[in-house]
Subunit: 329 residues, 2 copies
């Protein structure tokens, strides 16, 4: 970093709650251009980290009614005077391809709510990039003073692991199902869940939803309690985004767990650990970016990866060569 | 890397099955000394990757009878003429502190078996180091021509995640339990399991073991099948390390799953992915090692980590400074 660009004006606007400034800043952190990266880094530094939102990761496979849930849940929160930001993460962004229309039409009322801010997932790129810009977008929303930042993922697994590394709480939304329809949860995701919500617990599906809830509650009982969980967490509850039933209870669970973790110190510890993890990841990303900046080096790294994947070169030897190339570069 | 040390002689001895050479080589990869790292890297390169063992991760909390299981399971395999290596991973190595006696007395018969090789966990160090030397020790055992490499972990969570990134199969060993005794499995571990074995399914505990097996089988049914799993995987089975009941079946399941994944191409894909992951990790480790080599830089990185953890510096900015320091260093 030579002379860092001055980002104080944009930072002030964001902290003042200027939505267009926030949107512009998110576009900035989404850019991979070297000068944009530098500005983004300066901006985040200028914004500081004194404001914290409750970061909630929300996962659910297509069809569980995620959009309807976020719309209903978000409107309930804004109705209580809370400011809610919704960020969508979809690395395999076949869905909306990052079109704003996509997500906004999915949550029509919420997107018109002055207390809400909805940001669709940008068009696809490699996970490292998605992880970085998502967590930076979250940091921007926190600096903008939102009370709740909902990070929506599509239940493909990889993105959940990434998101669970940047949230305070992870909510898993599932659909009522019985017998063979079960097996709905991608491996690894249930483990991250701080709360499992069986959606569509209304009308004819209500009994099925209750059975599904009982199934998951049973499965969760087989897991050991984590230090950051009070007695009886994680829970499995029934909700209905349509009737609104269970939404308030779900929020009480979330708020209660967050409060408990704050008083116990788990909240700060987790955030500190997450930040250190990002630091290590940033070192790797920025080093790779340097290597990629030089066409010769870039080709070199690709070649090294090829050799490693084919087992012709050990990871340690390949890494040593990559760093060696960096010195000459 | 300047002039790479010649490791062909040691490599030849290892490939010839010289156990003392193997033990010496593992001690070498366990060393953090810069010149040792260089030799280790050269050795692994000289050994190549043409030999593959079936890498099995085995996890279970203290008390499930892990040692007794490995002893019985290992002796069954060596009895079939297979060569078995056992590596213990225990980052929180309060247990044996890496004393050879510790692990060898835990598996007395197996440790005297000429077809078996038991390597205790080295004394504790940070996870990055543990991960590197464990996967390098595994590579050494493969080059030494072992058919099966068992990597034992202690069920503390973090080490399982690490080990699952370097094995072909992950086996979770649990003890019979009912009602409140359940909650035995650390979150995240059940998700990695390709096979769950309820141990101690003998005598009075047999009925309890069957119930526990049914509980886990039920929980596993809630998980979606992964592409690398055939129908009905993962399974939960009962075994008894004491009577030997179920051990043969457990091996058939493991061998069958491994064979299926090989024919489907998942085996090679997984190994390639794992190798690429290690490459990225090695780049980070070696970069950190460079920074640590210079006392001034080392202090600098510590200070940066502190600022990141306290939220005074963004991970991206900290990483940029760390890399900047590298350039001056």
């Amino acid at each position: 970093m030579t002379n860092t660009p001055d980002m104080t004006e944009l930072a002030d606007k964001i902290r003042a709650g200027d939505r267009r400034a926030l949107a512009r800043a998110i576009t900035l952190v989404e850019s991979a251009r070297a000068d944009h990266r530098q500005q983004a880094t300066a901006l985040l530094q200028a914004l500081g980290r004194d404001r914290q939102a409750l970061r909630i990761g929300l996962s659910g496979t297509p069809g569980v009614g995620k959009s309807t849930f976020i719309e209903a849940f978000g409107l309930m929160l804004t109705g209580q005077g809370k400011r809610v930001a919704v960020l969508a993460v979809d690395p395999s962004s076949a869905r909306t391809g990052g079109s704003i229309l996509g997500d906004k039409t999915r949550m029509e009322q919420l997107s018109r709510d002055p207390r809400a801010f909805i940001r669709p997932s940008p068009s696809q790129s490699q996970m490292g990039g998605v992880a970085r810009r998502t967590r930076e977008a979250v940091a921007l929303c926190e600096a903008a003073g939102f009370d709740v930042v909902l990070i929506e993922t599509v239940g493909v697994g990889q993105s959940e692991t990434m998101v669970s590394g940047m949230v305070d709480l992870f909510v898993l939304l599932i659909a009522p199902a019985g017998g063979d329809e079960l097996q709905g949860v991608k491996r690894g995701i249930m483990e991250m869940a701080d709360l499992i919500l069986v959606n569509k617990a209304d009308g004819d599906l209500k009994p099925t939803a209750r059975r599904t809830q009982a199934d998951y509650a049973g499965a969760l009982r087989l897991l050991r309690r984590r230090p950051q969980d009070p007695e009886g967490i994680p829970k499995a509850l029934c909700v209905s985004a349509v009737t609104g039933e269970g939404l308030a209870t779900a929020w009480d669970e979330i708020a209660g767990l967050a409060a408990w973790r704050q008083t116990q110190g788990h909240w700060d510890n987790t955030r500190a650990e997450q930040a250190l993890g990002w630091f290590a990841e940033e070192v790797r990303l920025q080093l790779m970016a340097r290597l990629a900046a030089d066409p010769a080096l870039k080709g070199g790294v690709r070649a090294l990866e090829q050799e490693v994947a084919e087992g012709r070169l050990s990871p340690a030897a390949a890494a040593a060569r990559a760093l060696g190339a960096l010195d000459q570069g």
